[in-house]
Symmetry: C2
Subunit: 99 residues, 2 copies
């Protein structure tokens, strides 16, 4: 069942663009691992937050992706740029009015 | 610029499936109004919450959709089934590692 992971990442002052560069770096591995959608964004109302919405073919595919060398390297690179404030939620997709 | 609207809707006890039925009712109007993605879901950890992630071609397209007769009717139908607890966030998409 399609799995959604939606999150907010607090960033250190002035580090938002660096975090975005890391998160949007092209990765063919993500699609190969079952990532259907991975959107990264910003909001003027929250200048020290990066927003992410992800869709995966399953919760297991998402979990397994966290063990990919490239993903682990990206997490290690981004961690020092983050404030430690995380938000968001995960859910299982049950439908869409577009389908 | 692609706009994301991500939300949680608290529901009255026992009303989750009814809210899901309303939100996932097929609508060709949404796509015609600039809706790129509209995923509705659930989580075992939060049985009285419905989750929604939406992508729109622009913030204006999202705002305008709220004035569609079909959307206003769905909101009116769902409101009595909701608890009044809302969460989530909105952001502008700036990139994706999949593109």
């Amino acid at each position: 069942m399609t799995f959604a992971n939606v999150g907010t990442l607090g960033v250190q002052p002035g580090k938002r663009d660096e975090v975005i560069e890391i998160l949007t770096r092209p990765s063919s591995e993500l699609a190969a691992s079952g990532c259907l959608s991975y959107e990264v964004g910003v909001s003027d109302d929250h200048p020290e937050t990066v927003f992410v919405t992800e869709l995966w073919v399953s919760p297991d595919a998402h979990r397994a992706s966290l063990q990919l060398d490239s993903v682990k390297a990206s997490i290690a690179e981004a961690m020092p740029l983050l404030s430690g404030e995380f938000g968001g939620f995960q859910f299982e997709v049950v439908g869409s009015p577009l389908r």
